[in-house]
Amino acid sequence: MNTENMPKSLKTFPREKAFYFFTSIGNYTGISAASLNEFVERISEVNVKSLEFHLYRGDFEKWMAEVVRDDELSNEVKRLQKFNLMGDALRNQLSAVVSKRLKRLTGQLGPSRFQ
């Protein structure tokens, strides 16, 4: 597969750049994501405590900005912090935001309202 013209957001990253899901300081779940596609899959299966831990530390937005290099997605995820979401409500919202972005990037949706 030719990945040269693929947006960076859709690429698979080396393991040192993957996102590693923790439930608290130093407690790694064994679940990681090396691409945005994998990220969406993993957030549906990981312990929801891990999503709460990372969202409110700003880890997701940081990974999306620095590794995925998708500032728009990073800002969308950061916005979720304002709603004080917990549990499955957080899981569903996070999944919806990232899935929507993926669809946009793969051309399955129209242009973003931010573009």
């Binding site: 923790f22 407690n27 064994g30």
Partner: protein, 161 residues
């Protein structure tokens, strides 16, 4: 003290010298010799041979970091690994300056236990997330931050319990 096939076998006098050094490694050969009733040159020779054979590994200083004003936290990591990769994981951990001690342990699963020090909780987490978790063969990690130390000592050859 006997040397056979390049292996040093210690006698009672060597053990006495080691006990003396473990109590106070700064004391002189003459002081040890006087206490044990032997010449300082004998003490010197025996210590040199124990150093050369790696029985005496190093002379170090035990620092109370808290009193020295060094802010740091210590944690114990239990790392569950793929058995095929555990040796390599342990070797990679051993290279990291933040990791103070590394052990492998066989319980229900193959584990690596490592003691790690960092400047604060954020530094600890960043190290584990960016360096330990990505190592091939790491399945999951449990970390316990040490809140209070009741005892820390090295193995002593002294007879008292």
């Amino acid at each position: 003290m006997k040397i056979k096939n390049d292996t040093l076998t210690l006698d009672a006098t060597d053990l006495e010298i080691l006990r003396a050094l473990q109590k106070d490694a700064r004391q002189t050969y003459a002081s040890i010799g006087k206490r044990l009733g032997m010449a300082h040159s004998t003490v010197y020779d025996r210590i040199r041979r124990m150093e050369q054979h790696g029985i005496i590994k190093q002379y170090t200083t035990v620092v109370d970091g808290e009193k020295a004003g060094v802010k740091s936290i210590t944690a114990l990591m239990t790392i569950y690994t793929d058995p095929k990769e555990s040796e390599r994981v342990a070797e990679e951990l051993s290279k990291a300056p933040k990791v103070l001690e590394v052990y492998t342990s066989l319980s229900e699963e193959l584990l690596i236990i490592a003691k790690v020090a960092a400047e604060n909780q954020e530094g600890l987490h960043a190290f584990i997330a960016n360096y330990v978790a990505p190592l091939p063969g790491v399945l999951r990690i449990r970390t316990s931050i040490i809140t209070k130390k009741f005892k820390e000592t090295q193995f002593s050859i002294a007879n008292d319990s």
